[in-house]
Amino acid sequence: MHQDTSSAPTTTQVDILSGDTFQKHQASMPSNAWMQAQQAAAWNTFKSLPMPKRTEERWRFAQTVGLSLEGYTLQDKPADAEAILAQSAHLEDYAGRLIFADGHLLAKDAISEELAAQGVLWLSLEEALHSKPELLERYLFSLSTQLGSDKFEALGRAYARAGSILYVPKDVQVKSPFVAYHWASQEGASIFPQTLIIAETTSQVSLVDFYLSASGAPALACGSSHVHAGPGAKVFRKSIQNWSRKTHSFQSDTHTTERDAELYSLAVHLGGEYARFENDVEITGAGSHAKLYSLTVADDKQMFDQRSLQRHQAPNATSDLLYKNALCDTAKTIFSGMICVGKQAQQTDAYQTNRNLLLNPSAEAISLPGLEIEANDVKCSHGSTSGQIDESELFYMLARGIPKPVAQKLLTFGFFEEVIAKVDDPALADNLRLMVEEKFATREH
């Protein structure tokens, strides 16, 4: 592991909303005319757009009143870097690892020489600006989600520095996952994680993003991810979010699938006070296949706002979405999903399922499953259910002598298992079970 010891430019305690802060940030970025222009444009977009209102269709039912970007700052590298590095150990087997904290690169595990010889690139965003600017110009910031977070996405782009860039050439198959950690640590920190995965023809790769907090301090995260799955490529991206309970986060993910590509996206949401997650899949290639999974455990006053879009623009493709939410206390979740099938996308199979498990009478689950279909030879459906633990299942367990709290817990974990079982990496799956159990364990005291 190589620790990055270069001193980052000083941006101590500067308000992210001030033009001076942005100027300083730009001056500290690697000199790349394209990136400078992109970030300046993003800054202007951010400044010109108003904060969203819940009367906007894409923010329907959202709690927009308390949303504020005031009081967040760009931070120096945190003092507890060693502790953070030690905690960045959810997976032991990985092809490459990047660890960022408060927007600074703390450490990088480079790829093996074998992978490097095959042409795989595993770079931090800053490295890529030096060594592969043409790759970034083609793919970075190339798509927006169209789901409403334009302002936050623009802010994330304007301040983008911490990010992982993964390029896998034609026919290369990488078995072990790539891992990126984005930590928020100091009081009022703002972080802007970027992920870019380019998988060329018939390549295979997976990446796990961890979004975590090293303290209970308030923080802001505006992140984006873009996956480009080339013809026949197979990409699995997982993101595990466990921010502090005072964090506000806006994550915008986009995906493009070319002909016969297979895309898997799995997102786990545990932390944050307010977390919005936008997931947009653009199916541009015939015969491609996209699966989107999400698991959310919401408690206390947490608010999770999830919006998804499955855009079918090519024929014979399939997409399948499964979002499961478990709600405790006075938590609130929103699922707003849309399947859009264009005129040319005949023989599409598209599905969308939202399941909400209400574990407390005061929790609120909102479901907005939508379809817009313009092709006639398609199979599309969506299903949404909201309810409690099945009484008959509970009765069955009680009848067999299992105490009620245990039975409830088992049934709740059973509800999560459907999504966790989709994780192809047993170590990561176990880690997820542990994280979910931990969240429940802290509730019991």
Partner: protein, 468 residues
């Protein structure tokens, strides 16, 4: 593939009109003057006039809901519409009294025969006012009231004023405000406690004048344990310019009452049909909306039930057929407001040619409620490659032991089914028609016999030539 289905065959039934001299005409455009004119002509009490003027202000302040609804709403020119037209007569109680030209219209549409056959009462509205209104004598003896909107408010304020504008407040949406400002005609019905009206009551709405807007107002109150079925049908001739129909329908089912409201909407396809319909169900009451939309250019209609009393039940059964150039934007709203309430929504739509059908729904269960249930099923069938369908449900659930399920599917007529039927000697068009009728068959059965036969025939006709 033949792109243009021959969808106009059946509409010819309503596609005729007569030159009519109107005694009262509020002229083009909408202002306080128009509203005062209507109130003057109808000799209304001051509170009704004030209600209208307040509604007008709300209408003018509210923007068109184009942030979620069709942009086509922008093509309505509110200044080119006539808001009140009538011949000034009181509704006739016998068929002979109806003026000849109006009689001709309704005779062509078959109103008197229908009445003789199976209706307990009928009201026929011609432009702004009811031209004919009659109810069987025994119902009047039981205390049933079946009158027009102004008559209801003026003669029976003790019954109707309490609920008028309460289920659908004036400010509910832009078009409910518009209706509240310029309403005329419609049916105000009161069924006394325990009275079960066996035969359906019917209203027939007819737009006869060009550039005319029809704004009928209906309020049905079923007192404790009462039961009633109400049916409405609507037609208009095909004019060159667009016409607006914007009704408000309020239903109140008191404890244990049952109301069934059936609509077969077959406006010509240049009518904007923007209707607000909502029912209030008290304890153990039941409200069913059975809604079939075949005509109009753009329909926006989301019948709803507020389930206010324990064990109240709400249901919406909806069929929409969107042909070339039509947009059927329909759906349902279920607002649960008491324990153990249940609601059911079944919506089926068929899009044909360039037609577009949308389902928009709302299911709301707030946090203090227990044991509520909702079931929603929406199925869409797409016939041609340029047809379109959308589904936009919103489901908001809290509380204890509530369960909500929503399912939607989109499909086309299965090629295997068509092949199978062709094997047995049916033509492709016949097979298609049979298949489509099968798709909506279980809903069509819910309509009264006369309507379901008519509906099936209508769909057969609409489907003719849609495959090729």
């Amino acid at each position: 593939m033949q792109e243009k289905p021959s969808i106009d065959i059946d509409r010819s039934k309503g596609d005729f009109h007569y030159e009519t001299d109107y005694a009262y005409d509020a002229g083009l455009g909408l202002s306080e003057k128009t509203v005062n004119y209507i109130a003057d002509v109808k000799e209304e009490d001051d509170w009704i006039r004030d209600f209208r003027l307040k509604a007008l202000r709300i209408f003018q302040e509210k923007p068109l809901p184009t942030h979620w609804a069709s942009e086509d709403l922008l093509s309505i020119n509110f200044d080119k519409i006539r808001y009140y037209l009538s011949k000034g007569q009181q509704p006739s109680r016998t068929w002979e009294e109806v003026p000849d030209d109006i009689k001709k219209t309704f005779e062509r549409l078959g109103i008197p025969e229908q009445e003789r056959k199976f209706l307990a009462g009928v009201e026929a509205q011609f432009d702004s006012e009811a031209a004919y209104s009659r109810m069987k004598d025994n119902l009047a003896k039981d205390g049933v009231i079946f009158v027009g909107s102004t008559e209801g408010l003026m003669k029976h304020p003790e019954i109707f004023r309490k609920f008028f504008g309460k289920v659908i407040p004036t400010g509910d949406n832009k078009f409910s405000a518009l209706n509240s400002a310029v309403f005329s005609g419609g049916s105000f019905i009161y069924i006394p406690p325990g009275v079960k009206v066996k035969q359906p009551l019917q209203a027939y709405f007819r737009i006869n004048a060009e550039n005319f807007g029809q704004f009928e107002r209906t309020l049905i109150i079923a007192d404790e344990g009462a039961e009633v079925t109400y049916m409405e049908g609507c037609t208009a001739p095909k004019f060159e310019t667009t016409t607006l129909h914007s009704a408000v329908v309020e239903l109140v089912a008191l404890k244990g009452a049952k109301i069934q409201y059936i609509t077969v909407q077959n406006w010509s396809n240049n009518v904007f049909n923007l209707v607000t319909k909502r029912g209030l169900a008290e304890e153990e009451a039941e409200i069913r909306w059975i809604d079939c939309n075949i005509g109009s250019r753009l329909t926006m209609k989301y019948p709803g039930v507020i389930l206010k009393g324990r064990k109240a039940r709400g249901e919406v059964l909806s069929i929409a057929l969107a042909g070339d150039g039509q947009h059927q934007d329909t759906g349902a709203k279920m607002i649960h407001a008491a324990d153990e309430t249940s609601s059911n929504i079944i919506a089926k739509s068929i899009s044909l040619g360039t037609g577009r059908s949308s389902y928009r729904g709302l299911v709301h269960i707030p946090k203090h409620l227990k044991n509520c249930k909702n079931n929603t099923e929406c199925d869409a069938l797409l016939i041609n490659s340029n047809s379109r369908t959308d589904t936009y449900p919103a489901i908001d659930v809290r509380g204890e032991r509530n369960s909500v399920q929503h399912e939607a599917s989109v499909s086309k007529v299965s090629a295997e089914q068509i092949f199978y039927m062709q094997q047995r000697g049916l033509s492709e068009a016949e097979a298609m028609s049979l298949s489509v009728n099968g798709f909506i068959n279980d809903l069509v059965r819910e309509f009264p016999m006369e309507y379901s036969v008519e509906l099936k025939r209508l769909i057969e006709l609409e489907m003719e030539g849609s495959v090729g």
